[in-house]
């Protein structure tokens, strides 16, 4: 009896302790509000900018790893012949101009004189040829090879400041590809290294920032390159600090340890925006969040245009944006979002939410009672997107099973036409030309396409040979109109990319892309 009683008191005491513990934890959670305003107090000093990023590029060679990795730093340390401004418009960098032959196959670039690499070597046409040849050699294992190998026949040095690319076939996006993928590396320096891999450890470019320290997984430190050919940055040092966890980036910002946080989570933005000492920069991300439709199997209901349109009408995209994406997304009217520098079609209206119309369209297609299908969600997308879609589609009779798969497996399946029948997708684009997206998702041979439309095929063939921007723009507009009316995809939203910084910094992020551009960063 006695022992039972002690047992009881011990239990009660234990419960009290647990209660005390949770109260203490709750208190600790609740009372902490950040003390100081960050405004105008640099993390280090006014000659340094400290930026928190999610991960450092593993390999600093700008020609080997995927473009999404080099986008984080390559624009600062390297130059391409042409580059992109903040909106994605082309601007001359290492080239001052170019000419295209009448047949569109010979591109002659005049190069800037007086440009130096970080190691003091003079930049010449030799370096351009070397960079292109390096990408094309299979031994380099360059991820950029597939962009150039089918197109480039040869690169020749005409004189020290003229380089000529001869193409196998017309490529209207060639200049964009050079700008987005081909960073120029110094021939003499690279050839003098013990092996090609060594370049990634000690990279040398012509950009406004030179890399002075790389602590893998921790920090990447740049110093201003005083021999830079163009306008130099307004500070002497740029530090990338790795902080993978979004809430930790927010904390570092509040503690004044960094000046700028990239890829801020929408939930953290709400917390940070309340702080007067911080300024948010919210830009359109350029990635069309949509549902890829496997429409090419005639036995599938998805091969019918009415069904595909019904899936578009059945979803309240505004509600999806407001709740699932926490308002940090724009409506999407076509596969190319309006933040692109050209090729989007502002005349198109997003599909309105109209369940009755969706039901009617399904009935027209012979599916008045709906059908069963499945939706594949990669694990790196919010699962709520899929749950929301399945719920909306369920209301018009389309019974959707959700399949969540790991993002690695997703990549492989989605790139080899095995992820269907409905798949959540987004698109990065390093070259600001719509061809990457349209060619990938809306034509017969596209990597992510199970959709064919003869009209679209004809227009894309036409755009391939067209390098004049206004004409490309006009063709892409037509493509978008046709694809939208044909229900090529279920269009959802264009998520925004969020940055938060010290307002005294006043840095502007890149629109419609993930490239980090610190070429002109300065404190106010």
């Amino acid at each position: 009896m006695k022992s039972a009683m002690t047992q009881d008191t011990r239990n009660i005491r234990r419960r009290k302790a647990a209660l005390a513990a949770s109260v203490a934890a709750a208190l600790a959670w609740g009372f902490a509000t950040p003390a100081s305003a960050i405004n105008g107090k640099p993390a280090v000093d006014r000659q340094t900018v400290v930026v928190a990023i999610t991960a450092l590029p593993a390999n600093l060679d700008p020609l080997i790893p995927p473009s999404i990795e080099s986008a984080k730093y390559a624009w600062n340390a390297f130059d391409s012949l042409y580059g992109f401004d903040r909106q994605g418009n082309l601007e001359p960098r290492l080239a001052t101009g170019y000419e295209i032959s009448a047949d569109g196959l010979v591109w002659t670039f005049r190069l800037r004189a007086g440009v130096k690499f970080h190691n003091g070597d003079a930049f010449t046409a030799d370096d351009v040829k070397f960079s292109m040849d390096r990408v094309l050699q299979p031994e380099s294992k360059s991820t950029r090879r597939p962009f150039f190998a089918p197109v480039v026949e040869s690169t020749t040095v005409k004189d020290a400041h003229t380089v000529v690319f001869r193409l196998k076939k017309k490529d209207g996006a060639f200049l964009n590809k050079l700008a987005g993928y081909l960073y120029v590396v110094p021939r003499k320096y690279v050839q003098g290294l013990p092996n090609a891999e060594a370049f990634g450890q000690a990279p040398v470019g012509t950009g406004p920032w030179k890399i002075v320290q790389n602590q893998v997984g921790r920090e990447l430190v740049f110093e201003r390159f005083d021999g830079f050919w163009g306008k130099k940055p307004g500070v002497a040092r740029l530090v990338y600090k790795v902080i993978p966890e979004p809430s930790s980036r927010a904390s570092a910002l509040l503690a004044g340890e960094i000046d700028l946080a990239t890829e801020v989570a929408p939930t953290d933005l709400e917390r940070l925006a309340a702080n007067k000492g911080l300024a948010a920069e919210v830009v359109d991300g350029g990635s069309p969040l949509h549902i890829r439709i496997y429409a090419s199997d005639p036995a599938s209901p998805l091969s019918k245009r009415e069904v595909r349109l019904a899936l578009n009408y059945a979803v309240d995209k505004k509600a999806l944006i407001a709740s699932v994406l926490r308002g940090q997304a724009a409506e999407l009217n076509a596969l190319i979002p309006s933040s692109y520098p050209y090729g989007s079609n502002p005349a198109l209206k997003p599909f309105e939410f109209d369940a009755a119309r969706a039901r009617q369209l399904l009935a027209q297609a012979g599916y008045a009672k709906g059908f069963d299908t499945s939706l594949t969600c990669p694990s790196n997308q919010p699962r709520a997107i899929c749950e929301t879609l399945a719920a909306y589609w369920g209301q018009v009779g389309v019974r959707t099973q959700i399949k969540v798969i790991d993002s690695i497996a997703y990549n492989r399946l989605n790139n080899t036409h095995q992820s269907g029948p409905l798949v959540v997708m987004g698109f990065g684009n390093a070259i600001y030309d719509p061809i990457h997206v349209i060619g990938g998702a809306a034509i017969k041979d596209g990597t992510w396409s199970d959709y064919t439309n003869p009209e679209v095929e004809k227009l894309v063939a036409q755009v391939d040979g067209e390098s004049e921007r206004a004409r490309r723009d006009a063709i892409f507009r037509q493509v978008l109109q046709i694809a939208r009316d044909d229900g090529q995809a279920v269009l959802l939203a264009e998520p925004k990319v969020l940055y938060v910084q010290d307002p005294q910094l006043g840095w502007k992020p890149q629109v419609a892309g993930w490239s980090l551009n610190f070429r002109e960063v300065a404190w106010k």
Binding site: R13, R14, A17, A18, A20, A21, A24, A25, A28, W29, F31, A32, T33, P34, A35, A55, A58, N59, D61, I64, P65, P66, P138, E139, K141, T143, R144, R145, P146, F147, A149, E197, G200, Q201, Q215, V216, G217, R218, K241, V242, I243, P244, E245, S247, S248, S251, A252, L254, A255, E257, I408, A409, N411, R412, N415, T416, H436, G440, T447, W448
Partner: protein, 305 residues
């Protein structure tokens, strides 16, 4: 003793070899890295060229044999992502993780052991009361929760420690406490129960009757016996802490092997995954071996023939 040592080393080597074989097979079963290395515009022919360059087109047993042969020279291969030897990449990240795990273990022992002893000596005393709150909290909440709370309180509110990063002692304090608390709670509970049993044993009562001073009884007679299960627990905790460090590493941006392993798996960077797991297996085996030997030193009854 030597026989025993050799047998144990042999067993450990076999375990490590099996781990290597399993991880080698598993990483290759997850997927094909050429899909991640090349852009989607790449053709199947492009990918095949890369596979041949990486030796991934060969049959699995052949790949494994050449991997083991290279391993004999300490060569884990080159990471495709870093374009550097995989072992170097892992070594760079292993040091911070070991530092964190050892520091957390020190926290566990330095806090948990005295707390457990005090609770056993004075049941329901102040120390016992505090220990109960301490252990309940420590065992109930996962390390990442403490990490978040610590950042809120000690970094943002009081500004005592940085919110994350690596390099100085002040960077180590919060992650070490967040990770060590859980283990400290376990050490305290186990020490308490182990000490309580020993303190009630006949020989301790006899020592008291004999008039042996209390501190001698506690330290020499009781604790020395009570500490055996605690040592086992602590050695097992070392592994738990190495694994558990991942969540703490993420919150504090600690550049450890957990984050590296996660990124490497996500990028199917085979060589780094293999190197990291092999090194981890070696560390585990070494710790277990050391603990077995430590037993023999502490407990004279354990003598290995």
């Amino acid at each position: 003793m030597l026989n025993y040592l050799l047998r144990r080393i042999g067993q450990s080597a076999l375990t490590v070899f099996l781990v290597i074989a399993v991880i080698f097979t598993v990483v290759r079963a997850i997927g094909d890295p050429t899909h991640l290395m090349l852009p989607p515009e790449a053709t199947e022919a492009d990918r095949q060229v890369l596979r041949e360059q990486m030796g991934l087109d060969r049959p699995l047993p052949v790949q494994f044999a050449s991997f083991v042969a290279d391993l004999a020279h300490g060569d884990f291969g080159t990471s495709y992502r870093f374009s550097r030897p995989a072992l170097g990449v892992v070594a760079q990240a292993l040091l911070p993780t070991l530092l964190l795990a050892v520091a957390a273990l020190a926290v566990a022992v330095l806090i948990g052991l005295p707390l457990g002893v005090a609770s056993a000596l004075w049941p329901d005393g102040v120390a016992d009361q505090c220990a109960r709150i301490f252990t309940v909290l420590g065992q109930a909440a996962p390390p990442f929760f403490f990490s978040l709370v610590f950042v809120k309180v000690f970094s943002l509110q009081f500004g005592w420690f940085p919110t994350g990063g690596y390099g100085t002692v002040s960077h180590l304090v919060l992650p070490m406490l967040a990770l060590g608390w859980y283990a400290a709670a376990g050490v305290a509970r186990l020490t308490l129960s182990s000490m309580t049993t020993v303190l009630h044993s006949e020989y301790v009562k006899f020592a008291r009757i004999k008039g042996v001073p209390e501190h001698v009884i506690v330290l020499r007679h009781a604790l020395r016996n009570a500490i055996l299960p605690v040592i086992t627990f602590v050695s097992l905790q070392f592994g738990v802490l190495l694994g558990g460090a991942v969540s703490v590493e993420v919150v504090f941006a600690w550049p450890g092997v957990g984050q590296l392993l996660l990124d490497s798996i996500n990028n199917l960077d085979y060589t780094v995954v293999q190197a990291a797991v092999t090194v981890a297996a070696l560390v585990f085996a070494a710790v277990n071996l050391a603990v077995d030997l430590l037993y023999a030193v502490i407990d004279p009854r354990i003598r290995y023939a």
